[in-house]
Amino acid sequence: MNIKTAVFGLVSIKPQSINAVVNRLPYSKKSIYNAVESMLDEKNLIKAKIDGELKLDVPKDYESQKRKEFFIKALSCGVDPAAVLRDTPLKIWNAIGKQKSNTVSVLSKKTGLSEKTVREIIHLFLEYELVFLCKGKPIVVEKNNKHPLYGLLNAMLDSKDTLEPIYVAGSSPFSQIVASSDEMERILYDKIDGSLAVKKTGFLVRGKDERIAVLESTLGYLSLEEVFLKKIFSVEGVEEACIVLLASGRIEYDYLLRLCLKKGCVNAVGCYLDIVKNLKDELVPESVVETFLANVSKQKSTFLKAEKKYGKAGWEGRYEKKWNVDLYLDIGSVMHGVRSV
């Protein structure tokens, strides 16, 4: 283990004074001072007054905190953190996809690294049980998603799994972000000085800016169609987000229908698409409504459950009959949303 890794490991476990670091690590005083100075310059460490004493600590930003978490977990798993957290192993880790075609030659092509380098790193991953050997000749590996470092290693990657933004004209008093829990953690760190709220939790902090970021966490990466289905069963979803998604023209209706069939929500979604289409014809293609209608289920569903306690307004009849739904929707709110796009 190199000296910087040892210093970071020690300080990660517990903030230390510089004297304690010098006394406890088996390196020369001069080498430790040089390493610490360089780590302070690189902002990998900070000096902070803790319990009345000046100590070395890990910065509070997302990357540093994740690195700290990784170091502690890696040491407790018997993994040299510095060996794994270099650019080359991370590049290869990133390239090992979910599919089972991760041969040395495929990974070499994906990363632009030589097959020799890829093979060395794969052996390192195998030694630490970060990957499984699916096949020996040629070597085929798969990520070990049960390894305690699996999620942390993914979090160390630069790639983000949020979708391309959808642009809306005008100004909104909030920004809305739906992302996976891993990505959400990064966003929380990034936005913690501003105003933010996490959906469904009641967690809300006021910050220096008035415009609040409303964050919504999902278990993994969601396609736009999955986001649509997540939103359509919420009051805010039907009055704005779903309409904006439809107006973006980026919804793949065949895929949406497949998801609806799987989740048993063709009636509700078809009904909503029909209503939106009747309010603004160009938002939903005619053939889409017809295809959904051809797949209506005999099982009656309630749409939208959250609105049931406020009762019906009297306009719902024809849609209820057509789509076999018990309909509770504020048509005025949907109209307002439709007029805005």
Binding site: T162, L163, P165, I166, Y167, V168, A169, G170, S171, S172, P173, F174, S175, Q176, I177, V178, A179, S195, A197, K199, K200, T201, G202, L204, R206, E210, R211, I212, V214, L222, L224, V227, V235, E236, E239, E240, A241, V244, L245, K309, Y310, A313, G314, W315, D330, I331, G332, S333, M335, H336, G337, R339, S340
Partner: protein, 243 residues
């Protein structure tokens, strides 16, 4: 998914161009909707709608129609009034990755008579064309402003409290409510036909959204430092007074 606004310069260019159109007809209409709310609350409102909503009398509409047609806007008649629109032509640089989205933006002005009917109900709200406040809306790109005629803050609030309870209307209503003489709001609700009946119908849902800490409306108001519990008490008082 990330619903994102256009970059600030572009957004301000869109708003300034909309304001330039409004300048041509500012003495002919009463501005309602998001722009009306904004004229009372200023930048603190934080919500800027692309559409300009206005009301005027029938003869006035003909004048507006002529002026906007001369300015190159297209016209379509709608069930509720007349919609004027034209494609937005940016005067600032547009990032390449959003060229398509920007190309689809329309500048829109929607004008109807002073009586606003609620869809799927017999209720209506009538804006006065004689009584209004004179407000200024400033351009982003210069110190210039446009003088606009808007209903008083109490009239706008009275109207908003009877509108559908989507987050935009409820947020607007509650932000306005804090600037209001509550007695005046009650008078305005009661003076416009049976608007009170609609306000009574909306109230449980408005209060429900305010009370629910996971609802967007609650989050928006709390993040602005609004005392939500106090607002709920005020809304209950309004409801009691108009019953």
């Amino acid at each position: 998914m990330n619903l994102q606004e256009f970059p600030v310069r572009l957004k301000e260019d869109i708003e300034d161009q909309s304001l330039s159109i409004l300048k041509k007809i500012n003495d002919d209409i009463i501005v309602i909707g998001g722009w009306g709310v904004r004229s009372h609350l200023g930048k603190h409102h934080g919500r800027y709608t692309l559409d300009i909503d206005g009301v005027c009398e029938k003869q006035g509409l003909e004048v507006v129609c002529e002026k906007l047609k001369d300015a190159g806007l297209n016209v379509t008649k709608q069930a509720w009034g007349v919609k004027f629109f034209q494609s937005y032509v940016p005067t600032v640089e547009v990032p390449l990755d959003i060229e398509k989205e920007v190309g689809e933006v329309e500048l829109r002005i929607e004008i109807s008579g002073p009586r606003i009917s609620e869809a799927y109900s017999s209720h209506f709200f009538e804006f006065s064309l004689e009584k209004f406040d004179q407000k200024e809306i400033f351009f982003h790109s210069s110190d210039e402003s446009v003088g606009v005629r808007v209903p008083s803050v109490e009239v706008l609030t009275a109207n908003k409290l009877g509108l559908p309870t989507d987050y935009k209307n409820v947020f607007d209503a509650l932000m306005l409510l804090q600037r209001c003489d509550i007695e005046e709001v009650i008078k305005k609700i009661l003076s416009s036909d049976d608007w009170g009946g609609l306000v009574i119908r909306r109230m449980p849902k408005i209060i429900g959204r305010l009370k629910d800490k996971t609802d967007l409306v609650n989050m928006l108001l709390v993040s602005r430092g609004v005392d939500v519990a106090k607002q709920i008490d005020i809304l209950r008082d309004i409801e009691k007074s108009i019953r």
